[in-house]
Amino acid sequence: MIPELGNFLLIFSMINSLLLISIAFIYPPKDKRFFLSASLVTFLAIFLSFIALEISFLTDDFSVLYVATNSNPNLPIYYKFAALWGGHEGSLLLFLLILAGWILVFVLFNEDQKYSSAFMNIVLFALLAFTVFLSNPFERLLPISSLSGSDLNPLLQDFAFTIHPPMLYMGYAGLVIPFGIAMNFLLNQEKVKQLEPIRSWSVVSWSFLTLGISLGSWWAYYELGWGGWWFWDPVENSALVPWLLCTALIHSSIATNARQIFINWTLALTILSLAGSLLGMFLVRSGIITSVHSFALDPDRGIFLLLICFVIVILGFSLFFLKSDRRGLKTDMGIYSKEFMFFINNAFLVTLSAIVLLGTIYPIIYEIFSGGDQITVGAPYFNLVTVPFALILLFFQAIGPLTKWGGNKIDNLNSIGIIIISSIVLSYLVSYLFFSFSFYEFVGNAIVLMLIQSLGFLAFKSFHSQRKINFSMIAGHLGLAILTFGITISSLNSVEKEFVLQKNESVLLGSSKITLEDTQSVQEDNYYGDRVTFSFQEEDRILKLYPERRFYPASRMETTEAGIYPSVYKDVYISLGQKIGENAWAAKVQIKPLVRFIWLGAIIMFLAGLLVRTKFKFK
């Protein structure tokens, strides 16, 4: 009964959303209350439908097909709750809930309604229809069988996973809002001021995308047992592309708000970033690309998702080319102006996203033109082509904040000079003294030092001249500096060793000694397996690590749990390979200096983004 109710509410919200679109275009209501009540009803219906599915999960109602394929009676209750978004249909429902929520928040806080929420509802309606007709989570598995349920994928039975999709979806869905604002502006162009909310909304989406992506990276780091934090996996890339485009959108809309320039560019970016996020959804859910994340393979679903994405892009760009004011295309800017810095920022970010997208879909293109041969595009391509672009971008990121709008000579010339020179000297010393000196290490550190000095200079100047300080911007950029530092040091200075050890045997890695101390078996409700105790002795310090290999009987899957000793300076990371004999294991140890800085930086970026509307003033 409850699943049927949930299904009914989902269909109801779909019809409601369609009504809002029709009324908004045919007979545009003057009153904001219409949009408010319609959005509230849609949101509540989806929310109750979400609750209905949660009830099916928590009561182990395996007559619901989706529950039967994604849950298990032995699953701890917390994971039963989170298992709702462990598969394709449920995660789509979560996405809808978040999207409807964002639209409601937008309608609540923005006065200018005319067509914006209607355009957002077009996306919502399309995805609702997709869920109801092609991915219905309430489908029944009848007659009720003796099944005890399959299981939530063991790799996903994990804390970071349970919050990774909701955060990511907050970001993806948030990109619908700037799109709606831009489309509304194109249809009834009154004043550029209408575009102002784009900035805050894109920053909020960006924050959640940042958090979602970094949670995924953190999860991959300790759960997949490879010790890497970024794999250039197609699914990671399809989150990175909207992130890069959204970053470009933020900066472009700042320029639009401040100087009324880059208007068309901002409008185009709202379409592109939404298209990027929908295309990512298509790549992940259609099964066109195989990846660690892939959902159920079904070409029909893919075609529908691709159609949604195609229609949004064509709709967006048709309006854009028919309605946009071409006079805004030319912007006069001096090479030392802030305008030019924003131009560089956007050019590089959009190029980077194009490079990542190309690398991600290249295997598909290759397969078509080679008549079925398959290739993979891996980390070497991505590292080779993205790192130089990213470094140049970061260099300009250090200079940009010190320039002025409309500037035609280098302001702060002395400061910029001092910052560049001191960074080069310092970086040379740091790289030489503390790390194995290499070119990338030197460049990476120099850029990080430049960034930090430039932000410090900016904060100092605001303080000195008693102006308001843009805390959100400084903290966000600082987060990126910390992240860059973590990437530079951990990528270039990690060491690793593979070995086979008997009980009480030791192996040396540099001056550290690794000993296999004990093996024992573990048994929990939803899995059983082996836990091995290693000691890691380094000078006088002895650390204990407990990597595991687990077997999840319900889904017949084996997983490895890395044993990690985290610290600010470095992580010691041991992952188990195969059991070789009684009390003997193959394992791999890795030492990763400053790897925590990567996620620390990302968290700072996330928090900074949430503070987008705040400015502090020193008294």
Partner: protein, 168 residues
């Protein structure tokens, strides 16, 4: 100035066109590379022994990997029954399962298999390259795998992947 709209639309159409094309290509029966089948020995659910030599009696045989713990198997079961009614003989591989539960399942939902290999340790599955259940194999002359489908076998999959090969 008219060139930008044209370029953008062209770019969008070619990108989406490629993806559409690939989706249709994906659902085709072609593109599966034939593999050879290594000979194996196992036991049946009813206790008899089984060798892959027996597969050589038929030009084509269908192997279906199933288990009572697998929801997808429950889903495709009714279609397997349909295939059986059409006169297609299916050999089951009861994969990493419990004998009692397996018999109960066949009693409750019907038995579409002419024989059922009891692969409780997953050895036959390992040899075939099974990663889970359900999976279905088409074996030619008892020595080569001409199709390996991972996931639920339904009417559409049958029409796209298996029927063309059987007609040949």
């Amino acid at each position: 100035m008219k060139i930008y709209p044209l370029l953008t639309i062209l770019l969008a159409i070619s990108l989406f066109g490629l993806l559409f094309f690939q989706l249709f290509l994906n659902s085709d029966a072609q593109g599966f590379n034939q593999k050879s089948l290594a000979p194996f020995k196992s036991k049946l659910l009813n206790g008899d022994s089984f060798t892959s030599e027996e597969l050589k009696n038929d030009s084509l045989s269908l192997l279906n990997v199933w288990a009572t713990w697998c929801v997808g198997c429950r889903l495709e079961h009714s279609y397997l029954m349909e295939l059986e009614k059409k006169g297609i003989s299916i050999i089951g591989i009861n994969y990493k399962d419990d004998k009692e539960k397996a018999f109960k399942w066949l009693d409750q939902f019907g038995d579409p298999y002419i024989k059922n290999i009891f692969d409780d340790q997953g050895e036959v599955g390992f040899m075939l390259g099974v990663s889970g259940a359900p999976e279905t194999f088409l074996i030619k002359n008892g020595d080569s795998i001409v199709m390996h489908h991972v996931g639920v076998l339904d009417k559409k999959v049958w029409k796209n992947k298996f029927a063309p090969l059987i007609k040949k």
